[in-house]
């Protein structure tokens, strides 16, 4: 038993109360240097790095619901960097590296678990694409290989190598693929940020963005008006709706994305396994549950309600991949909203409105980018609007110039 727990156990009081993770709610101030809309992973991380690295602490995070209750609460916690483009791999690799040290930085265990991610190639086209991704990854010192059926059998002995009548020809084996306790990441950032003076206001909905002469100056909320030096929007799932309040359009279409989880069983699956051909990915959590997901719903919508057809599709394919799972029981099904861009890359940086910065277009790839998105957004704000190199390729303006960062092939059903 670790010493820390022994120490707690021998005290009579609940050990953590003197040092709460989140402070009690306070009143809204009239002015903040920085207002961050959205207390999801990205908003919290941005606030944390603003306070930690740049000494900017007069910061408020406004959240319409509860802390990290949007896509941060709904995603399937896949961390990886095996993307296709140079821009994507550089960006997400940095994120994975940051993740590895977060628990110790926070003094809060995020249960980062490096499991490796295996993506199955069930067509020659997939083999081609995966070879390219592994080569790009290696080019950036990533630990990703194209492996053959024998190696796959060793890694995942329970896998059906002819799932859905599509023989598994090869696999993209990304050793850095990982998972973590998603809530803990949000709480770790929230704790670190509030300890440094950042305020988090839950149940505080931004109803309008105040723009004067092309310059954002504040927001209206259900708790009154707040003036801000700089505003950052980090509201995955509602990005274009909020942007509309600030007076501009975003090249985003929002789709529901569903996931589901089984009852816990004793561990049998270490790697995260995904089959783009069958639109299905599978992982076993630390609690023993199997988390399953697939592609997004086929139509744009802002509803997080579950549907039967998506559940049937994902589970039919899960059983094709792992036939014995037919005998497991599904416990819960839920949905989030994915803000999709046409090139499957995010939109970060400046917006058409001065002092209004964007952290949006996170589709199905937002969770894994949480640390690096927060760090770069904080740099952007602290520098007064100088876009860090790492996120330059993700400017919204790229869509006007048709200079997209295409990650379509690297995103399907792998999240």
């Amino acid at each position: 038993m670790p010493f820390a727990l022994l120490k707690y156990g021998l005290k009579d009081d609940f050990p953590f109360e003197k040092d709460p993770d989140l402070p009690l709610p306070t009143d809204l101030k009239r002015h903040y240097d920085v207002v961050i809309i959205g207390a999801g992973g990205h908003g919290l991380a941005t606030a944390y790095y603003l306070a930690k690295y740049h000494g900017i602490t007069n910061v408020a995070i406004l959240e319409m619901g509860y802390l990290a209750g949007g896509n941060m609460a709904r995603n399937t916690a896949v961390i990886r960097s095996n993307y296709l483009t140079s821009e994507g791999v550089s960006f997400y690799s940095e994120s994975v590296n940051m993740y590895k040290g977060l628990a110790n930085e926070f003094d809060f265990n995020i249960m980062y678990s490096r499991r490796g991610q295996l993506t199955l190639a069930q067509s020659e086209a997939a083999v081609r694409g995966f070879r390219q991704r592994s080569e790009v990854n290696k080019h950036f010192d990533g630990d990703t290989d194209l492996i053959g059926p024998d190696d796959i059998r060793q890694l995942v002995p329970t896998l059906n190598m002819n799932a859905g009548g599509l023989p598994v020809l090869a696999g993209l084996w990304h050793r850095d693929g990982a998972t973590a306790r998603h809530d803990a990441i949000a709480w770790g950032y929230a704790k670190g940020a509030t300890q440094r003076g950042v305020e988090i206001h839950q149940q505080t909905e931004v109803t309008d963005v105040i723009v004067e002469n092309g310059r954002a100056t504040g927001v209206k909320t259900n708790r009154g008006q707040v003036n801000a030096g700089v505003i950052i929007q980090a509201v995955a799932g509602r990005s274009s709706l909020l942007a509309a309040k600030a007076g501009f359009r975003m090249p985003i279409t929002s789709y529901p994305l569903q996931a589901m989880v089984t009852q816990p069983v004793k561990p049998f699956l270490d790697p995260l396994v995904s089959s783009p051909a069958l639109h299905c990915y599978v992982q076993q959590t630390g609690r023993g549950e199997i988390v399953l997901g697939g592609g997004s719903d086929p139509y744009p919508l802002y509803s997080t309600r579950s549907t039967l057809p998506m559940k049937e599709e994902v589970l039919t394919n899960a059983v094709k991949l792992f036939p014995f799972m037919a005998n497991l029981r599904l416990l819960r099904q839920w949905g989030g909203i994915a803000d999709m861009t046409s090139d499957y890359s995010p939109i970060m940086g400046i917006s058409p409105v001065e002092n209004y910065y964007l952290d949006a277009g996170w589709g199905t790839w937002g969770f894994k980018a949480t640390p690096i998105a927060g760090k770069t957004m904080a740099e952007l704000v602290a520098s007064g609007g100088i876009v860090p190199d790492l996120i330059k390729p993700f400017s919204m303006e790229r869509f006007n110039r048709f200079v997209q960062v295409n990650e379509m092939g690297a995103t399907a059903a792998s999240h």
Partner: protein, 966 residues
């Protein structure tokens, strides 16, 4: 323990005493009856402990005996997490408890119970990560403790299927309210399905004694008879309506089938979930809900114990005490938490039976036998304030405890439909509001508990539905029920803990309160931090006490606090039910059988089965190269039926195609083909093919095998906006298509065509002809992907095999051989043709692949026109180049990278050995600065070696384009 706990016949309505069944639990043999569940059969043998709890490995036994808790999750053969109180006994099964090391009786992990104080709520967030890297080791240890049952990794799926149902009305739950609602609706002519989770109809009528209504027995029999005989009611027993999806789309699981019902109106009469009292050791085996004790006696004829204590928060539990007494169970005491006591009529019945009764008291702690394997006694104390007890303690020995703190509506389906829970402080209960118009609610789930009111409410809901179905104009009468069933604060925190709020997750009162004290104040955050409600029973019993505890700890009302979201499914459902038969459809061409006979190695291409090549796999390269050479020198045939085919006709056809494709069709002559290319709205290459003009207003277009469905869909989508007068038909599978290619192609085909002149003059390259081949109508196109004299013959699909056979026969003098996809890919590569989606990617614009010639800008618009203009006006960054390498050099693989200095400048898209040229040839993207003919590009091949390939002109083969025009 060999004592039988079974009452004499006829007690026990569900069991068939003439049909005994033998089974094993934990390796020991037991006997039950048909009609028993695994749990009831075990209880009949005095076996209460069925599992170990998730975190502390505490002994657990039945709580609800209705499949609503996680305490009875057992391992049934290879199947984990089976609800023992829902699973019917079939005989000869081998059952084990779950979540232990060693045996259920002697769990070597039972010490976890003593470690509790060292494992405060959320302990895993506080430790195990210092120093950096140590978590990796801890995680392995902790992971071993995770999970409940063990999955059988060798299990092979069994036959499960699905069926659709369409009815006027679904009634979910066949208790008094549901039976009445179903009858009322059916009598008025509605077609009704009645879905009941249990093996019997009646709900509480089947086991509860309604002292306030002496005719409940007769009523039950009458309802049963009428429902069972009704022609308009289809009854589903042992069937769970497991979710509510939009527009009353209901998955109903029964046996090995999932019904998918779509109904006009749905009445939810799912009753309520009895709630537990929170006190120390409230999880010991022998402590059950009072309804569970009633079920044991009435349904299964089981004696729940010899000496019982009843802990009551309402009159229901008082009735339980009477029923126990009737069944000769000594009732040591009825402990009523209500200081004002219960209903006078019931109380006087208790006094008549000499049952000791204490009002304003509670059980403060249950005391267990050795190792807490069963309840031994209770510590009873006076309630001096809400949640607080006095010092004086009375120990009452007992071997069972029944409790009822109140009821929670079985709200799951209703909340999935958008229903909201609102807390009524006076009644200390949640009610459900805000339901959609096609969803109705009746009975206990509607917080109506007295039998007469329940029946009236069932009727009211049905009348409501009949109004909506236009089957009745009767005005529904509102039903009210003032009966208070919930005790306000049935939570008694104990300084030593083990006062469980959530049995699934082993969460105690302090765990919930402490979560709020460190900042997790929202009910959603408490759930996420403490894991309350996350277990298999999904908060059925923890939601209410959790809401109360959070409300008090954060100084809010219970209504403001609320409960967490209820999501599908209602009860854990097997993946097999959702997967059903799990079809994996593939498409076969009409000539599929011939390919197999010829030894074709079939591969999946865009959902189709196609031969890659013909011959043994160990000689794949040789076979492929031979097929290539044969086409180049003689003649080959290839099944190209999978190629997409789309007919477009109508007065606006040319206008429509001019908008869809980049090229201009206005001046295309009839009986002529041309290359056609399309880009998407981003100006990215999306598909290409051949367009044959059959008439002024009629085109036949090909599309790529894997792209045709998308192309067809896009055409329909665009025309939904444009409203042009065209008819678009996907005719891909209407035709069997064979490509006859090679210098001898004409000679082979000549003998088979009557009315088509195949001579070079009469049927030149790129022409289209209609006529007959082997006597059947055919579309013949002189096009070729492979760069030789080539004809594509398209005949109605049913003649495909005949055409193939005829070609094989006619080709004998010319040594005709079939060739497959792999060979065709080399042939086209030699000819320098790119393949959409192999040599193009999600960013490829026409300029990058030298296709600007196919952009006819002398028309006002085509899809992607504006984007293409913008992209082409910019400095081009990359280009698709053709390269060669000597065969002595390592061959690049498709997907290898092209480098420029330290940076990635492109990737190899196609690369193969060319048997015709005896060198390695390929296509690759390269930086525009390294794309001139004669330049070399460094390619990093597998293993890291860098080879320098030389850029050459396309095509590699027959640059003068003579052979295809022979």
């Amino acid at each position: 323990m060999n004592e039988s706990f079974r009452f004499d016949a006829p007690v026990g309505t569900l069991i068939k005493r003439d049909k005994p069944l033998i089974f094993e639990f934990e390796g020991k043999q037991y006997q039950g009856y048909e009609g028993d569940t695994l749990a009831s059969a075990l209880l009949a043998n005095g076996q209460w402990m069925m599992s170990r709890s998730f975190k502390y490995h505490r002994p657990r036994g039945p709580l609800t005996l209705a499949g609503q808790d996680a305490n009875t999750l057992v391992q049934l053969g290879g199947e984990p997490n089976v609800l023992a109180d829902r699973q019917l006994l079939t005989g000869n099964e081998a059952v084990f408890g779950q979540n232990y090391v060693g045996s259920l009786e002697n769990d070597r992990d039972a010490y976890m119970d003593k470690l509790g104080r060292f494992l405060p709520v959320g302990f895993y967030y506080r430790s195990f990560f210092r120093p950096l890297g140590i978590w990796d080791s801890w995680e392995k240890l902790i992971r071993k403790k995770a999970g409940l049952g063990v999955a059988d990794l060798d299990f092979q799926p069994e036959y499960y299927d699905k069926k659709y149902l369409f009815h006027d009305v679904a009634v979910i739950g066949a208790g008094a309210a549901g039976l009445t609602a179903a009858l009322t609706a059916a009598n008025a002519g509605a077609k009704v399905i009645l879905v009941e989770e249990n093996p019997n109809l009646g709900g509480a009528l089947a086991y509860h004694q309604f002292t306030e209504n002496e005719f409940s027995g007769e009523l039950y029999q009458r309802l049963l008879m009428e429902v069972e005989d009704h022609k308009n009611i289809e009854v589903f027993l042992n069937a769970t309506c497991n979710a509510w999806f939009v527009d009353n789309y209901l998955p109903i699981i029964q046996g090995k089938r999932m019904y998918k019902a779509r109904v006009k109106q749905c009445i939810v009469a799912t009753g309520s979930l009895e709630q537990h009292v929170v006190f120390r050791n409230n999880d010991l085996p022998g402590i059950v809900m009072s309804s569970a004790a009633e079920r044991m006696m009435a349904l299964y004829g089981i004696r729940p114990g010899h000496a019982a204590v009843v802990l009551a928060g309402n009159d229901h539990a008082l009735n339980t005490a009477l029923m126990l007494k009737q069944h000769d169970v000594e009732v040591k005491a009825v402990i009523d938490m209500r200081s004002e006591g219960g209903d006078k009529r019931v109380l006087s019945a208790l006094f008549e039976q000499d049952i000791p009764y204490k009002a304003g008291y509670t059980v403060y702690e249950a005391i267990g036998q050795k190792k807490n394997k069963h309840i031994k006694a209770v510590d009873v104390r006076a309630i001096i304030a809400s949640g607080e007890v006095g010092e004086d303690s009375e120990i009452i020995e007992c071997d069972m405890l029944c409790m009822s703190a109140g009821f929670m509506p079985t709200y799951q389906l209703l909340c999935q439909a958008g229903g909201k829970l609102a807390y009524d402080d006076a009644q200390a209960r949640f009610r459900i509001e805000n339901l959609p118009a096609n969803l109705h609610i009746a009975g206990a789930v509607n917080s109506i508990h007295s039998l007469d009111a329940v029946i009236a409410d069932g009727r009211r809901a049905a009348v409501n539905v009949l109004n909506l179905l236009s089957l009745s104009t009767e005005k529904p009468e509102l039903v009210e029920c003032k009966l208070k069933t919930n005790f306000d604060w049935p939570i008694f925190k104990h300084p030593k803990g083990k006062d469980f709020v959530d049995f699934d997750e082993d969460l105690q009162v302090k765990d919930i309160i402490n979560s709020t004290r460190i900042g997790y104040r929202d009910v959603q955050l408490v759930k996420r931090y403490s894991t309350v409600g996350m277990g298999p029973s999904q908060g059925r019993h923890s939601a209410l006490p959790t809401a109360r505890l959070i409300a008090k700890a954060t100084d809010r009302s219970v209504n403001e606090t609320g409960v967490t979201t209820a999501r599908p499914p209602f009860a854990p459902e097997k993946l097999a039910h959702l997967a059903g038969r799990g079809f994996s459809p593939t498409k076969r061409t009409p000539m599929h059988q011939r390919h197999l006979e010829l030894g074709g190695q079939m591969i999946n291409v865009g959902g189709w089965q196609r031969p890659a090549y013909y011959g043994a796999t160990e000689q794949d390269k040789t076979s492929i190269y031979n097929e290539v050479k044969h086409v180049r020198n003689h003649v080959g045939i290839m099944d190209v039926s999978t190629l997409g085919g789309i007919d477009v006709r109508g007065p606006d056809t040319v206008e429509f195609l001019n908008r869809i494709y980049t090229v201009n069709f206005t001046k295309q002559p009839i009986n002529q083909t041309r290359y056609a290319m399309m880009v998407n709205e981003h100006g990215v290459m999306s598909d290409d093919g051949i367009a044959a003009r059959l008439a002024d207003d009629y085109f036949y277009l090909s599309a790529t095998t894997s792209g045709v469905d998308r192309v067809f869909r896009d055409m329909k989508k665009w025309n939904a906006q444009w409203q042009l007068d065209v008819d678009i038909a996907n005719v891909t599978t209407a035709f069997a298509k064979i490509n006859v290619a090679g210098p001898d192609a004409r000679k082979v085909l000549e003998n088979l065509t009557g009315d088509i002149d195949l001579s070079a003059e009469a049927f030149p390259y790129l022409a289209y002809r209609e006529g007959h081949v082997i006597g059947v109508p055919a579309r013949v196109l002189r096009v070729g992907f492979v760069g030789e004299l080539s004809f594509e013959v398209h005949v109605p699909a049913r003649f495909g095999e005949a055409l193939w056979d005829a070609l094989v026969d006619a080709g004998k003098p010319f040594n005709l051989k079939p060739f497959g996809v792999s060979s065709q890919r080399i042939l086209r590569l030699e000819k320098g043709h790119f393949l959409i989606s192999q040599d193009t990617d999600g960013m490829t614009h026409p300029g990058e692949i030298d296709m600007t010639w196919a952009l006819k800008v002398n028309k006002p618009f085509f899809v992607g026109n504006r984007s293409v203009d913008i992209v082409l006006a910019q400095q081009q960054k990359r280009k698709l180049v053709a390269f060669t390498l000597p065969t002595s050099t390592s061959k690049p693989e498709e997907g290898n990278l092209v480098l420029k200095g330290d940076a990635i400048s492109g990737n190899v898209t196609s690369c193969d050995y060319s048997p015709t040229l005896d060198s390695t040839i390929g296509l690759a993207y390269a930086d525009i600065d390294q794309s001139r003919v004669g330049q070399t590009i460094p390619i990093r091949v597998d293993g890291g070696e860098v080879v320098n390939a030389t850029i050459v002109q396309r095509p590699f083969y027959d640059a003068s384009e003579q052979r295809q025009e022979l």
